[in-house]
């Protein structure tokens, strides 16, 4: 059941359209991520849900209640929790008072406030630090204070605006799992904004990929990775090779694409409804989906000969940059392969993994 419903949301700043008539539903209890490069409108969308921004058109419904069309509901009345990119932990209040702020406004009894704040501080791993000022905490700890503050009131909706972007790489990775398990445990409907696709993959039940104010694809992380809707998504999520070409032949569930140099690639993934012959497309295949062989094995489709131009050692695997008929293809292979730069080899592009994108 849709707990948050975004309907036809439109917002512009001056002449710049930030959010261009988008529709989106967030299901009760799920973590949905708005993912996209900076300036794609993801933060503006989040701020409209929070009420920190007012859309020019459209509406946001939380738990069935319209937030804009039937009179503006201010952020303070929306029962939301929000974690800001720069933590926004109040420097003049102790950790305890930061977290207790919202509860005090609700005029709860002192005992209850104390109990709930201590509970949530414990769950984010800050027990015993309530008396400290934020200035005496590390960045990671301040982040936890922000999280505790957002969770303590048991809000209907949890909004997270790039909450990890100011942390260092190691801590960021750990916090992903912590946030996810915490939010899961509290079964809170969450909207998470990030530009980091790996973060989105780990944390989300579903991802909405945004590009210049539009939502281009919504789906589970695996679906988005395996079946990107267009070149932008394929490029933005993970690493991929694009091989330009034209559709040569369309069959029931596969197509042949002719590259500029006359080679034919068999693709099994494509949108059969829109594909037409001679249409210009890009074949997308991820580096880890390409197999390499020293010899051409039999007469399979999608086997191409190429020369290794660069060899990059990345510890747990190797990257080969292979020149196939003047197209550079990146391949991820096991680290023990011995081939050197300048040597020739054969690439097998598994048709199940080849995606033809308009």
């Amino acid at each position: 059941m849709a707990f948050i419903k975004i309907e036809n949301l439109f917002k512009k700043f001056g002449t710049m359209v930030a959010v261009n008539h988008i529709d989106l539903e967030v299901i009760q209890g799920e973590i949905l991520t708005l993912l996209g490069p900076s300036g794609c409108g993801k933060t503006t969308t989040l701020r409209c849900i929070a009420g920190l921004e007012r859309p020019d058109e459209g509406d946001v419904l939380i738990d069935g209640k319209p937030m804009f069309s039937k009179g503006f509901v201010p952020p303070s009345q929306r029962e939301i929790g929000m974690v800001f990119q720069n933590y926004a932990v109040w420097p003049h209040l102790r950790v305890f008072d930061n977290v207790a702020y919202g509860l005090k406004l609700q005029r709860l009894p002192k005992e209850e406030i104390k109990r709930r704040v201590n509970e949530v501080l414990e769950s984010v791993g800050l027990s015993g630090l309530g008396k400290r000022y934020p200035g005496q905490l590390s960045g990671g700890q301040q982040q936890r204070v922000a999280l505790a503050r957002a969770l303590v009131r048991n809000p209907k909706v949890l909004l997270l605006d790039e909450p990890l972007s100011n942390l260092d790489a190691k801590l960021r990775e750990r916090m992903r799992f912590e946030i996810k398990s915490l939010v899961r445990r509290m079964n809170m409907t969450s909207v998470y904004v990030t530009h980091d696709q790996a973060e989105a993959m780990v944390i989300s039940d579903r991802i909405a990929v945004m590009e210049s104010g539009n939502i281009v694809q919504v789906g589970a992380p695996e679906e988005i990775y395996k079946k990107p809707a267009n070149r932008f998504v394929a490029d933005f999520i993970g690493t991929t090779n694009f091989i330009p070409g034209e559709i040569a032949e369309i069959r029931e569930n596969q197509i042949y694409v002719t590259t500029e140099f006359g080679q034919k690639i068999l693709c099994k993934v494509f949108d059969s409804a829109t594909a037409v012959p001679d249409q210009k497309v890009h074949v997308s295949i991820r580096p880890e989906d390409i197999e390499v062989y020293a010899e051409p094995s039999g007469s399979r489709d999608n086997v191409f000969k190429g020369t290794i131009m660069h060899r990059a050692y990345l510890g747990n695997f190797l990257n080969f940059f292979v020149n196939v008929d003047h197209t550079m293809i990146r391949v991820q292979v096991p680290y023990h392969l011995r081939q050197k730069e300048g040597e020739e080899l054969y690439l097998y592009l598994n048709p199940e993994k080849c995606i033809a994108l308009p």
Binding site: A50, G51, L52, P74, P75, S76, Q77, R78, I80, G81, M82, F84, Q85, N86, Y87, A88, V89, W90, P91, H92, Y101, G102, L105, Q106, P134, G135, A146, R149, R153, L159, N166
Partner: protein
């Protein structure tokens, strides 16, 4: 450690030792001297605190400080909020207007107010003409007048510092409060206001301490029961009466100790509470609110209300400058250029002195300030932090303390006070921190790698300074120069103790013409001329530095 840096440090330290530490210590020691003997003791201080008159004076000064601070805060808080948060057309112009009193001498404003609100001033005369009152109302003579004029003069310090505070708050801190359920006033009181407190304090200290340094305004309003005023009267008029002289010196020392003490305490507190350093990603202009029509009208009305008071000062002075015998009539009726003929043709020495003294002081300032800024920002010479500290401390010392200490220290022994050089010298020492602060700020903005690149390319330290640092610092340095000049040009509280016949400056001329009475036209014309000169200088700063006062005073709101 390079020997060049040590040499610079040694020279700067000797200047500070001779012209700051020596005279001020002299003043301190003198205050313990038992009159008529060679012995030292606490007698003067005991006398001071036993005498109900001086205790009352002390209390008056304290009360004035509190009242001025309260008034500027009440009036300034909404104004700062409007200027920092509302999106309004013409805000830059209003800002410049409202902040104008910062660069105007306080005594100029006092004169203007007397003409307008005095017992036989324009307002009283008009009210009587219209038959609304039968006897003139006492608008300004007394505590209320002092509070009024000092609040008007000091309002910019409060407005600048609070609005800098509002602007510096990371918008998300307030948004977080909003999301947490605090709206409107609640958010303002629990988050916005506390976060502004370090900035507010920076401005509040300047305002609160002002009555401990300003001796002239109370005298203009016919009051002398304030610490600096009675100190001036005792020292300047009763120097033969040993008791009064020493009470004067004690008053100066007590004022100075209060100023320095509170200044240091607030500085420590502010540094401990630097909230802005904590949050990242602050936007440049902070949180800006789009206002409804109702709020907008109120905001404009409020800004206009204050701008009118500020503008009254130059307008009134202008009217009296071009008129004669503006007495017992609401508006002048006899127009003349005679006042200016007097200033330019009969006593051009005043103008000349003002320019020469300020220019020489400026020269001293640059010669001292640039190396000092370099030493403090770019080297690790031992003792440089102490040097910075001592120079900064000069911000807190009342001008009257510098004047009196110079008079005492440079009379016998080192008889500098018999040469005119004492005038620019004292101006330079009084405004020591101003130029340094600005050179310092520009130095901090100059990326050290630009200089390192020059040294790597083969230029020595001095060549690097001339070829790379100086051209890049020029803008900041120039703004500093002009602001220094403006401050030196209007200086009176130090100079009044040191001038002798033939060394009178424009501000001293204003004071003397007012003091002798009946020459108000000339005093007004001089003050008007001074405002014009300052205004022209400010235009130059604005042209070069962009944003008149923002550039000159930085965002920290005033003298810090």
């Amino acid at each position: 450690m390079s020997r060049g840096n040590l040499l610079i440090s040694a020279i700067l330290w000797s200047v500070v030792a001779l012209f700051v530490i020596y005279p001020l210590s002299f003043l301190m020691i003198e205050s313990f001297k038992i009159a008529g003997t060679d012995r030292y003791g606490l007698q003067n201080y005991i006398d001071f605190f036993k005498d109900p008159y001086y205790l009352k004076t002390f209390g008056n000064t304290l009360l004035l400080g509190v009242l001025v601070l309260a008034t500027t805060t009440l009036v300034g808080l909404p104004l700062a909020y409007i200027l920092a948060r509302y999106r309004l057309k013409g805000k830059v112009l209003f800002t410049a207007l409202i902040l104008l009193p910062i660069v105007l001498p306080a005594y100029a404003g006092a004169f203007a107010l007397i003409v307008l609100f005095g017992k036989m001033g324009t307002i009283n005369l008009l009210l009587m003409d219209w038959g609304l009152i039968s006897k003139p109302i006492n608008f300004v003579f007394g505590l209320h007048g002092l509070v009024f004029i000092q609040a008007l003069h000091l309002l910019p310090f409060i407005v600048l510092s609070i609005s800098a505070g509002f602007t510096n708050i990371d918008p998300s801190l307030e948004e977080a409060a909003e999301v947490e359920g605090a709206s409107g006033w609640k958010r303002f009181l629990t988050v916005t206001l506390p976060l502004t407190s370090p900035n507010y304090l920076a401005g509040a200290v300047i305002v609160f301490l002002w009555p401990f340094t300003d001796w002239l305004t109370p005298l203009i309003f016919g009051q002398q029961d304030y610490l600096p005023s009675i100190a001036y009267i005792n020292i300047a008029y009763h120097f033969t009466d040993m008791h009064r002289k020493y009470m004067g010196i004690v008053s100066v020392v007590i004022s100075s100790l209060i100023c320095v003490g509170i200044f240091l305490a607030s500085k420590t507190w502010v540094e401990k509470k630097k909230y802005t350093a904590l949050s990242k990603g602050t936007t440049l202009e902070g949180r800006i609110i789009e206002t409804g029509l109702f709020t907008k009208v109120w905001a404009y009305a409020y800004m206009l209300f204050i701008a009118v008071f500020v503008l009254l000062i130059p307008i009134v002075l202008g009217l009296s400058a071009f008129s004669r015998r503006w007495v017992l009539q609401p508006f002048p009726s006899y127009w003349t250029l005679d006042n200016f003929r007097l200033i330019f043709l009969e006593t051009p020495i005043l103008l000349k002195n003002s320019f020469v003294f300020s220019a020489v002081a400026l020269l001293f300032g640059v010669t001292f300030g640039l190396p000092a800024a370099y030493l403090i920002t770019r080297t690790k010479v031992p003792g440089k932090d102490t040097l910075d500290f001592v120079i900064t401390l000069m911000l807190a010392f009342p001008g009257i303390a510098v004047g009196v200490s110079y008079l005492l220290a440079f009379w016998e022994g080192i008889p500098l006070a018999t040469h005119w050089i004492i005038m620019p010298l004292s101006l330079f020492i009084r405004r020591l921190p101003y130029f340094l602060r600005m050179a310092h700020a520009s130095y901090l903005q100059l990326d050290v790698s630009l200089e390192e690149a020059s040294e790597v390319s083969g230029a020595g330290k001095f060549k690097t300074f001339i070829n790379i640092s100086l051209p890049l610092l020029l803008k900041g340095v120039f703004v500093g120069l002009v602001m220094f000049f403006i401050m030196a040009f209007q200086e009176i509280s130090t100079a009044i103790f040191l001038y002798r016949g033939g060394w009178e400056t424009l501000p001293i001329g204003i004071y003397l013409n007012w003091h002798r009475g009946m020459e108000f036209g000339i005093a007004g014309a001089m003050a008007f001329l001074m405002i014009v000169i300052i205004f022209v200088l400010l235009l130059i700063v604005a042209r070069i530095g962009g944003g008149i006062l923002g550039a000159a005073w930085g965002s920290s709101g005033g003298k810090y």
